[in-house]
Symmetry: C2
């Protein structure tokens, strides 16, 4: 993927790691619910800012993916924040449908109880799983 964002100062200010990525945290803007965590490269962050929908870098598929591009579960971006040392991005979004590929509302549905991870949101059994 070629980048046409090389001259943009705000993108230069992000502290990309040695793989060219930063951590991206996605939060529902209206409720504060943390929906998911993914990674962004320069092109993903530029696309997110330009288009207003969350786009990430898939490390497993080595490609950009706009969240919801196949499922329709888009993330309409209300705000993009950067942390104090410039290596983590917080997206405040309005999520269409479930954020998790398991069809749950968010990805953090395993809670530590004693010495076990317990699923606190049941798996939907009647919906098609969507990425």
């Amino acid at each position: 993927m070629s980048s046409d964002n090389s001259g943009e100062i705000w993108l230069e200010q992000v502290k990309w790691d040695h793989d060219g990525l930063v951590v991206a945290i996605v939060q529902e803007a209206d409720t504060g619910e943390v929906l998911m965590q993914a990674y962004m490269n320069r092109d993903a962050l530029a696309a997110t800012a330009r288009e207003g929908y969350a786009t990430f870098w898939s490390r497993s598929r080595s490609k950009l993916w706009r969240k919801g591009e196949s499922s329709g579960h888009l993330q309409d971006v209300a705000e993009i924040r950067l942390d104090c040392d410039n290596d983590a991005v917080l997206l405040r979004v309005r999520q269409t449908g479930p954020a998790c590929h398991t069809d749950r509302r968010n990805c953090f549905f395993q809670r530590l109880e004693g010495d076990a991870w317990v699923e606190v949101a049941p798996a939907p059994d009647c919906h098609e799983m969507q990425g």
Copy 2:
């Protein structure tokens, strides 16, 4: 740091990266505010679960650090969550004092406005900066 947690199944279930780390997101339990992002290794997560206060792995100092160990700004952990692919942890905490080392309430105080990161929380000018 030797690990005495090698036999713990719940720690084995976490998908540690090639550096032995996972992303940790810290959220204020009562308000949903995302406070900061850090990293945990196995010992950090074990200590957090055992002691009830957030402990991370400092990549820059290559050591465990209990958040607030020098500043007193501890994070009392209400809940530990793990995401759907087991490679990100969400801590829901009650934060004492500011979470950010700049003395701001949270670390995500830079907002993208047009093509510039703008500080939306003023820097405290009368407090001692604390790690």
